[in-house]
């Protein structure tokens, strides 16, 4: 490997460019779950992808893993195009992408011992020196858990096991698809921090998908905000948090209640998320936008980092 390719790797590990993913259900209209989204993740970087449920966050993550086929657009990982997962063995170059799923109650095999499941990951990486128990230790669990079955653990412990299994394959990109939403409230921040620490310390990138902005704020370097299949704002976490520019980002942040004891109900975003099978013309957010202008109803703001006509780049 030449120095130049190493440099590009550092710059961007994952490059999602104008990705479109469609869901086809017989008897129902075509749903364009991801409608032209672009995103990059660099090595050692934590990117938080936030948005309401149904906005296409998970579909995007699944496409990055090859679990959903891209209708158009490209996904490249480490210079290799990501191809959809088929019946054959996955391309070795792509085993550097590992995913932690939302529900550890269904993502772990209930009939196999935890240690054996972690060993699968180790085998993928061709790692013969690490024991499953070592990985359990890294995620903060006792070594002797390797001989037990998933049902013996709580949700938080199971998710740690799922993280250990993903890490066993030595990923250079870890994807967490709502990895904390099935957990007990108090375990959420802990598990999120753990994922960040483990990914960053091994130099891997982390794409962390969550609807919980306060947790994303704790762990992400950059935040990407998604609305109805499109990324509407990308920026450094502090900047997005202190100075949100897209009206949707503002609405999202404004909906977080402050623990000040004042009894103020958080602002509600009027209207509902439109049906992704029939998105509104122009800017997708305009029917709910408090500052919509004429141009918003006609033309789609197809630029970044803030996809809003108020913030059109000069």
């Amino acid at each position: 490997m030449t120095d130049r390719t190493t440099m590009t790797e550092r710059a961007t590990l994952l490059n999602v460019d104008d990705l479109v993913v469609e869901h086809r259900t017989p008897g129902r209209p075509l749903v364009r779950a991801v409608a032209g989204a672009s995103l990059t993740v660099s090595a050692g970087e934590v990117v938080g992808l936030v948005g309401e449920s149904g906005c296409g966050k998970s579909t995007l993550a699944r496409a990055v893993c090859g679990l959903n086929r891209a209708a158009s657009g490209t996904i490249t990982f480490d210079g290799h195009p990501v191809t959809p997962l088929g019946l054959r063995r996955r391309d070795r170059a792509l085993s550097g992408i590992q995913m932690v799923f939302q529900d550890p109650y269904s993502s772990l095999n209930p009939r196999r011992k935890v240690g054996a499941q972690i060993a699968d990951g180790l085998r993928t990486a061709g790692d013969t020196s690490t024991a499953p128990a070592d990985l359990l230790e890294r995620v903060g669990l006792p070594r002797d858990f390797a001989g037990r079955h998933p049902h013996e653990f709580s949700g938080g412990q199971r998710q740690r096991i799922a993280i250990a299994r993903a890490l066993a394959a030595r990923p250079s990109l870890l994807i967490g698809d709502e990895p904390i939403s099935a957990l007990d409230a108090s375990a959420q921040a802990q598990v999120a921090r753990l994922m960040r620490d483990l990914a960053v310390s091994s130099g891997a990138g982390l794409l962390f998908i969550s609807h919980d902005l306060s947790v994303v704020r704790l762990i992400a370097d950059r935040i990407a905000v998604m609305y109805l299949g499109k990324i509407v704002e990308v920026g450094r976490t502090e900047e997005v948090w202190t100075d949100p520019r897209h009206p949707y980002t503002r609405a999202l942040l404004g909906a977080i209640p402050a623990p000040d004891g004042a009894g103020v109900l958080p602002a509600e975003l009027p209207g509902d998320v439109p049906d992704p099978a029939a998105p509104p013309p122009g800017c997708r957010f305009h029917p709910r936008c408090p500052v919509a202008m004429d141009v918003c109803r006609e033309r789609e703001p197809a630029f970044g980092p803030v996809a809003c006509w108020l913030h059109e780049p000069a």
Binding site: E52, S53, A251, L252, A255, I256, P259
Partner: protein, 256 residues
């Protein structure tokens, strides 16, 4: 006073989970119950409904009006549960039956508790779905839980809890699994229902922001005991107990 819990103690396998909890719920008021995981918040909620895990022993008194819920037989309790006292759980993905349509789950207890016929129950179910802002309630009623997003499922779960016009609603982390925008809507919904219907709500949550937004009174639990109770403004702004202060201090800075 709608529901009064006094000196509630719960032991499971010789281990004391609750060590004397006192709480009062009033109609039209939201009582917030805060505390970290394992402090007994959820157990308090479950004890009210008689849903404690197998082998648990509860002593003390949970008075619903004149009646003591702890002294009731299973049969008597069944007339209260889902009717006068309802509950909303944290995770709508597991609290709803995956193989029954939303309509079945919304109407079953209505027909049992309120004695409605099929048509009336269905009409009320559609009305409730509209109330919790499910788009297209007439069509949604025949769908199954997996066809809805998490936020929608929780709104349906709230509709199910409200179906029999309960006096007391126990909400155990009802918005933890939801989007903030949906959470804002659900909190407004809860607050509105509490005010309009005179519902007494016990809101169990770890999120002090949520607590601050909707609760009138706040109780903080630690290791099976209520360490502090008071009006929202006082507990969240000038906590007396060091544990409450520690909880507030552990929040990540400015959240605007």
């Amino acid at each position: 006073m709608t529901l009064s819990i006094s000196d509630l103690k719960v032991t499971i396998g010789g281990k004391e989970i609750l060590r004397g909890v006192d709480l009062d719920l009033r109609p039209g008021r939201v009582h917030g119950l805060a505390g970290e995981s394992g402090s007994g918040k959820t157990m308090t909620g479950l004890a009210v409904l008689g849903l404690l895990p197998h082998g648990a022993r509860a002593t003390g008194r949970i008075a619903l009006g004149e009646r003591d819920l702890l002294g009731m037989s299973a049969k008597e309790l069944n007339t209260v549960r889902g009717g006068e006292v309802a509950m909303v759980f944290q995770d709508p993905a597991t609290s709803m039956h995956p193989m029954l349509s939303v309509g079945r789950q919304l109407t079953e207890h209505m027909r049992h508790h309120l004695g409605l016929d099929r048509k009336q129950a269905r009409a009320r179910a559609v009305e409730l779905l509209g109330k919790v802002r499910i788009p297209g309630p007439e069509a949604a009623i025949d769908r199954y839980p997996h066809q809805f997003s998490g936020g929608m499922r929780q709104r349906i779960a709230i509709a199910i809890a409200l179906a029999c016009s309960p006096k007391v609603l126990i909400a155990d982390e009802p918005t933890t699994a939801l989007d903030v925008t949906v959470q804002a809507g659900v909190l407004r919904l809860l607050r509105g229902l509490c005010d309009d219907l005179g519902l007494a709500v016990l809101l169990v949550t770890h999120d002090l922001g949520v607590m601050s937004a909707v609760a009138d009174e706040v109780s903080v639990m630690k290791e099976g005991l209520v360490v502090e109770t008071g009006p929202r403004g006082q507990v969240l702004r000038n906590p007396v107990h060091p544990y409450t202060r520690a909880l507030l201090d552990s929040l990540p800075g400015e959240t605007a």
